[in-house]
Subunit: 395 residues, 2 copies
């Protein structure tokens, strides 16, 4: 297996060969959640625009309180005081706000808590104390969170310049495949990878175009590739990455594009291939669902993040105890689906054999483990750091 490159080497090959040049576009702030900002944004607003009350209370003239509490018998609302609640503007003749708790009214006459001292600016929030013109709202390269959208609006921005989404074309290939929606007959298999892959990549910020199933015909595949090349930043050719007689995919890819590598020390899904055509990266992703899932995990997500020049955030991990032995052969990083349960405050993990063709084995799993390429020989009772798939099981 020495000819296989590691996952890390494959990602480095992508780094050294693929230089996508994302365009930018102006989108409404309201629709910008999860988009990546293409420039620094600064506030064009000053808030409060004018000084305002910092707390709920009554605006007064501090001058009236210079010699202690004034005689309020002749005080009239609007002339000598005014209600001013948190965030409220008030008349320019007032310059201090007395907390509502420090004011009482007896037969319409205003009174104050004993000991109250009123100075100019008391409980007054100055202009710009919330946000000032010119302050940074969000920096270039940030992935926009809900609160960033609020900040952008506060700062006076209705539109935000973001990097365009990477355009991903997904081409499912294989004569045995039928689209979901009909009952598979003998010799047929359901094509369900397009949905799994596209929903995963869309959540990372990609735009995904899934082509119809390409049966094993070189002409049709070439045509599909041409259509995808005319549009995409990344093309995923699913299936036909191994040595099958009907697998024209690798041959056609080698003819049409620059070959980068084939075969990665990650299983299931070893025969993954990488190709380049100008600024378009092409990934020949193995067909079996679990193999396609592993490719998503280590490779396709990282490619979308690389497009945005942002690091890939690894899954959260949790320490689990193996209930049975787990073996990772030397020279391959195997993906194990784990079924983790909690017992006496301890997480117990049952590994599911990745060498089985059973798709079902991934379904109940709530965590993952990828063995080290050096090989691993773990015993029941050993502790490992599992990657969390279903976070609700670990609260």
């Amino acid at each position: 297996m020495s000819e296989l490159c590691s996952k890390e080497e494959a990602l480095e090959t992508i780094d050294h060969n693929w230089y996508p040049r994302p365009q930018t576009e102006l989108v409404e702030v309201k629709s910008a959640l999860g988009r990546v900002v293409a420039r620094d944004y600064f506030s064009t607003n000053t808030l409060p625009v004018f000084r305002s009350a910092q707390m709920d209370g009554y605006a007064v003239r501090a001058a009236d309180f210079v010699k202690g509490h004034p005689d309020t018998a002749s005080f009239r609302e609007g002339q000598d005081y005014a209600r001013a609640d948190m965030g409220d503007d008030f008349d320019d003749k007032f310059d201090a706000v007395i907390l509502v708790e420090e004011v009482n009214f007896s037969q319409g006459i205003m009174g104050f808590s004993p000991g109250l001292v009123v100075k100019p600016g008391l409980n007054v929030r100055s202009a710009g104390s919330q946000l000032a013109e010119g302050e940074l709202l969000v920096a270039k390269g940030r992935t926009l969170l809900p609160r960033d959208l609020g900040f952008l609006q506060m700062g006076g921005h209705d539109f935000v310049e973001v990097f365009c989404k990477p355009k991903v074309a997904f081409i499912p290939t294989g004569s045995e495949l039928i689209a979901a929606g009909l009952k598979p007959q003998r010799g047929q298999n359901l094509e369900s990878n397009s949905l799994m892959v596209s929903e995963t990549l869309k959540a990372l910020g990609a735009e995904v175009w899934c082509l119809p199933i390409v049966k094993d015909s070189p002409e049709v595949l070439e045509d599909a590739l041409d259509r995808a090349l005319a549009w995409a930043d990344l093309i995923i050719i699913n299936g036909g990455s191994s040595k099958g007689g009907d697998d024209h995919n690798a041959r056609i890819l080698k003819n049409k594009t620059k070959f980068l590598l084939q075969g990665v020390a990650a299983a299931p899904g070893k025969p993954l291939g990488l190709y380049l055509s100008g600024t378009v990266l092409l990934v020949n992703l193995p067909g079996p669902m679990i193999a396609a899932f592993y490719g998503l995990e280590w490779c396709l997500g990282a490619i979308v993040n690389k497009f945005f020049k942002r690091p890939t955030v690894p899954r959260a991990t949790v320490k689990v105890t193996l209930t049975e032995a787990l073996q990772g052969p030397k020279g391959l990083s195997f993906l194990f689906n784990l079924m983790v349960t909690r017992k006496n405050g301890q997480y117990l993990a049952s590994p599911l054999d990745p060498r089985s063709a059973r798709t079902y084995q991934g379904i109940a799993a709530n965590a993952l483990y990828m063995t080290k390429i050096e090989g691993e020989n773990l015993e029941a009772g050993d502790e490992i750091l599992a990657q969390i798939v279903r976070a609700e099981d670990f609260v």
Copy 2:
């Protein structure tokens, strides 16, 4: 401050008073990402439907190999052997698959690797070895991941019964508020909480209806509440939760609904109020952006999760070292925004003062810390577990 209940007590009050009864609906599997499944789903398909080749190779009759390698001079494709790649069906007369690597052709005559032994079933994948009819695909209560959607499709499901989204009405209130899109004038403030709140709750699976701004008029607020009560599972009245003279909100809410509590030991945002009307929960969320953000963090997200009967997954944490003192008063859990940087492999956290009205202080932050209600007196150099807001800064 002893009259304030803790965040945990407030959530328990919700648990003991609010019993939403989510309906279910049938949605296309393709559109079901993030939805919560309302019943167990089992496979209606068996895959492969019939036995198929497990590897790329040639299908043959094992009987021809009983006495060792047969004389292949008269072997004809289709009659004595057939190409069969991984996943392929092949003619019933064949019962074994020889790996493509073990076969060679010399002048059109088939040959085999020395030592090759062929028995019935060699490299043949049996029917149902990938997925069998009746196997569990996804269990009730699961939040659907991309791979679950693939599994549902493989199992023959085009539609999936999910819990309806909780209907959330958001009512921004305050005479000083203007909608984003125009320049605020003296005495005006921008309403940007609706976007922050709705995008956060939509990401958790809620449907959110944002009403226009309700100026401080009791009649208009009552009308808005009636409209929201006719539709929503959860109503968020933003602003007017404290004691201001224009803050009719609490009074109107107390008149129209069952009062649950007001005042939570969480700041900014202490005056948060909870009310109930039949099966509709109402939250009076404080107006300042940072207060609304804190309410989202500890309260509103948990409410959406409670609707789905699923636990709230806490934010990932990271150990950071404080660069300056951080004080949390006794009896209040303060939200601190933290600006965390990495230096010599260590994370250094600068806390931003939550008692400042400065919205800006939250913008650059990439982590959060909520002080313990018992009070905290942390010194520069102390280590705390910070909650991660911008995961890309911690890779």
